[in-house]
Amino acid sequence: MDLKEKFTELMRQRGGRLTHEMVLTPGRFGLGQTPKRLQPDSTTSMICGYCSTGCSLKIHLKDGKAVNLTPDPDYPVNLGMACPKGWEALTPLKADDRAVTPLLRGGDGKMAPVDWDTALKVFTDRLKAIIAKHGPESVAFLSTGQIPAEEMFILGLLSKFGMGLIHGDANTRQCMATSHVAYKQSFGFDAPPFSYKDFEESDVLVFHGANPCIAHPIMWERVMMNKRKPEILVVDPRQTETALAATRHYPLQPKSDLPLLYGLANILIREGWIDQAYIDAHTTGFDGFKTFVATYDPEMVGKLTGLGSKRLMEFADLIRPGKRVSHWWTMGVNQSHEGVRTAQAIINLALMTGNIGKPGTGANSITGQVNAMGSRLFSNTTGLPGGRNYPDAQHRKEVADILGIDAAGIQDKPGLAYDQILEQVISGKIKALWVIATNPAHSWVNQAEFRLAASKLDLLVVQDMYHDTDTAKLAHLVLPSAGWGEKEGTVINSERRIGLFKKVYPAPGQALADFYIFKLIAKYWGCEDLLKDMQTPEQAFQMMKRFSAGRPCDITGIADYPMIDREGGIQWPLPASAMAKAPSSDGIDATRSAADSARPAVTRERRLFEDGRYYHPDGKAKFQFAPPQPIPEPVTAEFPFALLTGRWSSAQWHTNTRTGKSAVLRKLYSADPLVEIHPEDASRLKLASGDWVQVKSRRGQARARAAVSSTVQPGQVFMPMHDVEVNRLTFPAFDPHSRQPSYKHCAVRLEKDGGD
């Protein structure tokens, strides 16, 4: 380079170190270009660890360790797409508040690191002492829908059959219990019937209390792929993102959904818009239902819901037989004081119009957590593994036989539900609580109750990835867990698809997979024999298969993890009999030709009830119904606003313990708690957007910034659930059948807050 060039380069440098850092290079493996700095030498796919959509993420590996990820283009769920949480899934693993050793609260009240041996001895010694003194009902656990099924499964076995506990529940009580019970009572088994393909194949999609644009963006992707120019109906008091993207929005009064659904049923019956042949062949209880809904005349329901009878008629006309109508619901229905009956009222609409078991139809519950569905089948909390029931002696015997234990030792009724466990903590009957991968100090309805309970405990053990969650801060003992990406196991998504978690990142410090923590507890407790055939998650999976045999959720046709991987996830059921004829059900063999291993052996997207046979002994579905109950905490002059809660952005997950660790995700949502309020109410209270407000309920208060918006109706306010303040306000009402808390309605008042 001559002097002139050198000078030119010095004055105007076109390349160099900084430019090089940003260079893209062909990523291989079908990835397209990736940053050269992060070029993978291998890839593998695994299910995202947040929600129940169950997207597959392609992990970019360098020397076996994850360096980056992109959504998996081959997976039938997400087709190469992901929401921000998925894109940022690796970041929360690197947070500096990860729990890296067990922590024990000392005499000085401070948490101090201890080794695993000490922690496990403290755990077993103290719990055994409490049980010795107060009996097996004095210890309970609260688990999660966020860990793989194998971990839930051995936790269920260990706690109930090894440690002899009676009570254990999970945070799935807060999200899915209602659907679980609704399906079980209506269909005879907890069986969401759909496949995501149904989003694409509907003529009419009805979203009840669901906001997939924000809560399940990748499901919304599938809706957008629908080429049938569908009518999209949204039933929601708030004009959500989904309501705006829909063709019709029904902004009903909060908690008037059950009368609305009965009113619709009445119109359908009156107008003859029903599929009588289907009703006769495949259902029971229709006559009673017909009589019951006859009193729900459109005028009355139109008034009650605030929609008017005309819109009701229009709604009924859109969902009558003749078109493919699918109903979808989420937390607006589930988190209600009468969620089970509401979900069943939706199921009834699908049954009476024959819109089930066919493409683009169904009464479909969109699940919340990544493995809520695994919890529903295998957690051994509300039911015995394989969707069995505690009160059923035959079921108890089957379980005992598989495990080689005494059936007499199995409790004959389910343990207490979440709210009942906390009630008993407060009343002093339960002395120790073991919380696994959930954060009730933030998420529990009327949070103060959990905090009060925590203060009464002799021992609170929190097993979590982070040492500083709201709940871990209250703990006496913290056990450090490995997180998603640091361990193996299977999860089941909303459409019953079983997918894999893989180990692609080293856990920090001494954090261990929950699977190994449970195994160690079994060892220290002295009941490791119970789990002796389950040394690894995959061996536990083989045991889960045995529990599924002959049940509606039969997965005996799944050979092993590699088969799940190869098939792009596998929906249950897949009994061994179905696979007998399939050519490639053997385990993975890397020497097989690529073409062979790329060919799926199982039909990729399947729905249930195509034959019209349900799981009740008579093979029929049941119409379930009951009169609507009054709103538990109606608004009053003193507390004139109905507080609705829900998701705010697709960049936040639950209590934000993980998503809050990503700087990029933090940019995508408001740093301050927010309260949405209608302009009329705002002007009456002299509030402008951005003003600080005190939101007060009878139970507590929360400070939030006003977001003035006509997306909420006058008299209603909305707050995102991701801020810890919100559940200081919520009212502890529960569905009587599912014991699911009603997060979506309580009475509050607003006061302007002077501060800035």
Binding site: M11, R12, G16, L18, E21, M22, V23, L24, F29, G30, G32, Q33, L38, S42, T43, T44, S45, M46, K58, G64, T70, G80, A82, C83, P84, W87, T91, W116, D117, C213, P217, W220, E221, M224, E241, L244, A482, K502, K503, L512, Y516, L520, K523, T536, Y561, D565, I588, A594, A595, A598, A663, V664, L665, L668, Y669, A688, G690, S709, S710, T711
Partner: protein, 581 residues
């Protein structure tokens, strides 16, 4: 996966006990990454049929133009608002696929809504607009931006960047992002490397609803109808840069549609080095101006020592200002590159002008100093005695003094133009020039008063000669101050504006979050520029220590007041932006 317990553990277990041995085995197992061994072989094999071909190609094929841009065309983003539901995957995909740093994002998603009337809200995704008249590029003092003549993509040359952040002040769309660790800005390049090989930009690839695509736009069309581009309620005026992103929608936005953050007022970054640099450079320029003009008018002592002190002080202040300004750069070592943007960038011109002023002032000070040295000393330097004489004469000649005055005014003018040439309403007016010149006048005059009173104090008996000067300057201070405060107070008129304009927000900030700083600023100004001069005038100029005290009591509050004013100049300046959350 195998748990190495049974075969290996017995000896370990007998040694440690079974529990700890198991803990050890699990901890070891936990650190073993298994996915590659068990699964990746298969995944990689499955790619055999697609050597190098991106699997998402079929997803984005129809989101890219079929042809390369022809002359008169360029690439542009097109956003179908009706397909965007606000999932924000585009932001994270851009982040991951471009390997950005932890909190770095090149795309953002905002919200517009209709508050009164029919409820409506719409998310809006924005990245670089790849403008026809890229303000970032026009402002860059080192030509670190270039607009590709074929694709129209506005590219940033990372290694050329000196980290002055001026492009951030220039861009109305908040596109360039400063990277603290690297000391440079970076920005969206429309994934030009991907486009070159037929792949879609990260955001286009990642949008689940295919709301973002790349199109070819006719440059002439954009020029004619620029208002149709980046046309979102609340978006910045398109005439400034001629943006090319097209937002499509079948909806009609009602008149009340506005950015969800339209009423959000938050103070902006203070840029402390710039606060100090601007105030000091104006003090220096004002002082140089006072020195040269005062000497020219015969109002100042022509005593060589006084001239040396005054000129050295001016040069020194200017040097400090320049040093401070360099500390503001992310990569100060490359500051010298700033000369190459002279033709277009006011920042480059400012740097050159102040460089010139500093050089001239330093030269003048040096020559004055040499003139005062003993003859023998100069002789030892073996300079031709004639030359020295000429130089000394030249340095104190009216022409030199005029040149210095002009250079000082030019420097301050360039400074003001740096800010006037941005799309920020608080800055983009003649008021900025007035403010800067008045700062120079106020601080320069007060500093000169201080020097003169000190000089008089040191040379007892000469007070009478400078009484007039002191009187003029002291009387001028309140006048200049009122003018200055008047300039600053103008923004408060916008408090009653109907729309949440940047000026209204500035006024709101000055009354709200910045109230304290604003009160301090006005009080300091009134103290040093009004109260003290009046008291001093009342007291009379006697050439005593009291005069020096008065002078300092004017100068120090005035200087601090101007620093506070400059802090407010940055923190109250609300830029135009695309709608935020």
């Amino acid at each position: 996966m195998k748990i190495k317990l049974k075969p290996k553990a017995p000896s370990l277990a007998t040694f440690l006990g079974e529990g700890p041995a198991l803990i050890g085995a699990y901890l070891e197992e936990q650190q073993t990454l298994t996915a590659v061994d068990r699964f990746s072989g298969m995944h990689d094999l499955m790619q055999d049929g697609f050597p190098g071909k991106p699997k998402l190609e079929s997803h984005y094929r129809d989101l890219l133009p079929l042809d390369k841009p022809k002359p008169g065309q360029q690439y542009a983003f097109e956003v179908d608002l009706d397909r965007c539901t606000g999932c924000k995957a585009c932001v994270t995909a851009c982040h991951n696929l471009n390997g950005l740093d932890e909190d770095e994002t090149w795309r953002s998603v905002g919200l517009i809504h209709n508050v009164i009337g029919k409820p409506l809200q719409q998310t809006v995704t924005t990245a670089c607009q790849h403008c026809l008249e890229p303000a970032c590029s026009h402002g860059c003092p080192v030509k670190a931006y270039e607009k590709d003549p074929v694709t129209g993509i506005v590219k940033h040359l990372d290694d050329q960047c000196i980290g002055c952040e001026y492009c951030i002040l220039k861009c109305p769309y908040d596109v360039p992002q400063y990277h603290k660790g690297k000391g440079i800005v970076r920005k969206c390049d429309m994934c030009v490397g991907r486009l070159e090989v037929g792949e879609a930009p990260a955001c286009v690839q990642a949008c689940p609803t295919k709301a973002i695509k790349i199109t070819l736009v006719e440059v002439g069309e954009v020029r004619r109808n620029h208002a149709n581009y980046a046309a979102i309620p609340g978006a910045p005026d398109s005439s400034y840069t001629l943006p090319t992103t097209r937002y499509k929608t079948a909806r009609r936005f009602p008149a009340g549609m506005e950015a969800a953050d339209a009423y959000k007022v938050k103070k902006e970054k203070p840029h402390y080095p710039l606060v100090v640099m601007l105030t000091l450079s104006q003090l220096a320029a004002g002082f140089i101006l006072a020195t040269e003009a005062g000497s020219l008018a015969g109002l100042l002592p022509l005593h060589p020592l006084f001239q040396i002190i005054a000129r050295s002080l001016g040069a020194f202040l200017m040097t400090v200002a320049i040093v401070v300004s360099i500390t503001h750069l992310g990569r100060p070592l490359y500051a010298f590159r700033a000369v190459i943007g002279f033709r277009r960038s006011w920042l480059s011109r400012e740097i050159v002008a102040f460089g010139l002023l500093q050089a001239l002032a330093a030269a003048a000070a040096t020559v004055s100093l040499m003139g005062a040295l003993p003859a023998g000393f100069l002789a030892r330097l073996s300079l031709p005695p004639d030359l020295m004489g000429h130089l000394i004469d030249a340095a104190s000649s009216p022409a030199s003094r005029l040149v210095l005055c002009l250079a000082a005014v030019l420097g301050v003018h360039c400074s003001a133009m740096v800010y006037r040439d941005t799309p920020r309403a608080l800055w983009a007016s003649r008021i900025t020039s007035a403010k800067f010149l008045l700062t120079a006048a106020l601080t320069g005059a007060a500093a000169m008063l201080t020097l003169v009173t000190a000089w008089v104090l040191a040379h007892v008996g000469s007070a009478g000669a400078f009484k007039d000067l002191a009187l003029y300057l002291t009387a001028a201070l309140p006048v200049a101050l009122i003018a200055k405060l008047g300039c600053e107070a103008r923004v408060h008129r916008h408090l009653d504006d109907q729309d949440p304009t940047p000026l209204k927000k500035a006024a709101l900030l000055l009354r709200g979050e910045l109230r304290l700083a604003n009160v301090i600023r006005f009080n300091l100004g009134l103290l040093g520029g009004f109260l003290m001069p009046i008291l001093w005038l009342n007291h009379g100029f006697a050439g005593t220590g009291a005069d020096l005290a008065f002078a300092l009591a004017c100068f120090i509050p005035l200087l601090l007041g101007e620093l506070a004013e400059r802090y407010l100049f940055f923190t109250a300046c609300v830029p135009p932006r695309m709608p935020g959350a």
